[in-house]
Chain length 119, copies 4
């Protein structure tokens, strides 16, 4: 099921079931899962350690590396969804609330082409 | 829109539009976005730094802290979705492929209640 | 040379020479080295992912795991020293300045046994 | 005391005393301290998030930013030294062992100007 049709709840349910079958809930404390997110994020980052920003874009033309990166992205996502399950957080709501917040923090006319609002 | 009805594509589209309006694509190299994921993951982790695993579960009863944590989870998710956009990765497919891979790596009968397969 | 007699400058010189022999200075931008520090920090953290805080102390009785952890600590230290070299930062001065700053931020009488100053 | 004359043991002693005065040893489990290292590493990295590798070198000409970065480097170092204290690890020995190991892994004639040994 691709992004166009898969809901966040579908992925969360798959991961809840995966953990339940293995009786892993005792390991899934928020502290551990937040560590897991950070560890997987670092493994993702490692693919881009010694290359320049421009060169890091070239990975889209290297199917093998791209597959490895997709694999690491999935690892981060799985722990993030596990954490959302453990805490009862609605991830879609949280993301949309964050986008609304950032729209106020980074107004289009002041941020076009730059990351910081000029004083 | 909550997790039950929101697709990954919906969130990716919102973030693609957010970046496009601000002309932020030049900043969104895979290298930078992977760094962004890791930085936000660390901010998420900071909420659980000095508490024990058991105590970290208590956060579900503290709405204010829970809201802050949801905010950090959203930050990680936004950069992860931005990175999926930048690389043209289908995140749902990647997550489901990872779950299938982990089902083989961690068979239920050998992993029940433990995180490592006993030799 | 053990900690009792080794200066920070000695370690920095060893690492400067190591990089110079391999002509790695072009890779040693502050951005890359900061990423390297974070990546190695995550590998260090991975040793303690699924254990509780109390259990993580038991590693001192497991020479093999302790050696692996010492190896990861060294990886973080090497990149931190490389970064200090790249930026011309005196690490001892920076650490001592930070300790002085933290002594003001965390006064002994208000912080004994707790990590946050009570309001 | 600058890097030229300060030993690792001197810094470790200062930090051991700092923690002892505040009775912080109960918080200083290896798990917590490894998290602390990773969190501070991410804060260090944040200074270089949206700049290119080349631009990240320019920070040496900006005394204010350089001071902030030195401050973050010190935070990482403090937790790394705290962790070495908690585990009874000799950091100088570990770093020198790692350099010896890397000298074998990355022979000069095969690694000059590149980060990976060509097959």
């Amino acid at each position: 099921m691709p992004d166009a049709t898969t809901t966040l709840a579908t992925l969360k349910d798959l991961l809840r079931q995966f953990a339940a079958e293995r009786e892993w809930e005792p390991f899934h404390s928020p502290k551990n899962l937040a560590m897991g997110v950070a560890i997987e994020a670092a493994e993702l980052m490692e693919h881009f350690l010694w290359v320049d920003c421009a060169a890091s874009r070239a990975i889209v033309h290297d199917p093998e590396r791209l597959g490895e990166v997709a694999d690491e992205i999935a690892d981060v996502a799985c722990h993030l969804l596990n954490l959302s399950n453990a805490l009862g957080i609605d991830l879609s709501d949280a993301v949309q609330a964050k986008i609304a917040k950032n729209a106020l923090k980074y107004p289009v006319d002041k941020c076009r082409g730059r990351y910081r609002v000029e004083d």
